[in-house]
Amino acid sequence: MAHDRILELLERADWKDITFRLTHYAIWKACRYNWKSGSPDQLPGGRTPQDMALNAIEKVWTGVREWDPDKYPNLYTHLKWIVDSDIDHLIKSKEHDKSRRMPETRFYQASETPNPEEQLIAKENKALEDEIRNEFYVMVEGDEDLETLMLCFDEGIDKPQDIAEQTGWNVSKANNVKKRLFRKAAKLKHLIRKGEK
């Protein structure tokens, strides 16, 4: 696509909305990992999740990560990819100790056996995940919908469409339950931070 057309699309974008959503995305994405600083608000290099979002926006504007609307029409999705890629880069950076990564699913091939260190980390992560899971349950106890949501997470289901399908809710209800969960955002973030040393 011609540069002037891309410029026109960038100028027409709702940057306030995009920035809020992207920052929200970066915050929760960063929460998934255990950072050496001890906080998902303090990433390697003195960055914050807000910085990650703003840097992604700047990369699109400056052309460092050029947006091709023909290939990827959704600008917000393109920006999320940049945030994912940049956070992944930080995770792999020398400044970050990889062994302290937050619990994350890793699938071993049949022929592949985790080494003793990986087994120990997996064991620790499992214990941590159980602890967070239990506290999450205490947090949502009594709210039937949030409890149902937790059961969905236990089953590995996290997309509103899939949740709606499994629970018999409609997508709108799944999104409303998400709003209820957001009202506990600060508590939720504190809970996820339990994994930090």
């Binding site: 960038l10 920035t19 809020f20 504007w61 994350e104 699913t105 967070i132 899971r133 999450f136 509103p160």
Partner: protein, 139 residues
Amino acid sequence: MKKKGFIECLTDFVSDSEGLTQEEIATELEELGIDTAELAAAADEIAKRGSAVRRLAWRDRAKERRAEVKELLKSKQIGRTALELKDKVREILMGSYGQGAFSYAEAYFRKRDSFSENDLESLIEDLEDLNLLEEEKDG
């Protein structure tokens, strides 16, 4: 396919803002201690700066292209009878008739080695048919 873990599901679910309004996201960000006015201002500043830089880069590219086109015009054989038409075409190639006419004419010129009066007339007719010479009139 193996299922995702609890933490992955939880963080993926909450990081997805679909179905939430901008106000709801802003409220959540404020609750997490983020100054949303400051955040929006920072993004606005990046957009303004980026827009200015991109416009400048575009003007530089257009300037370079026009210089190339001038050279192209010089190097082509154009019949003496076509000189008046050549003046009009030069104006088009200098951008006086807008980007659309400029791009079309540039492509037209690059395809040929020499131009007759008929070729130049044909080019201007094409541009008129495509309403690409309207931009000047519309301002």
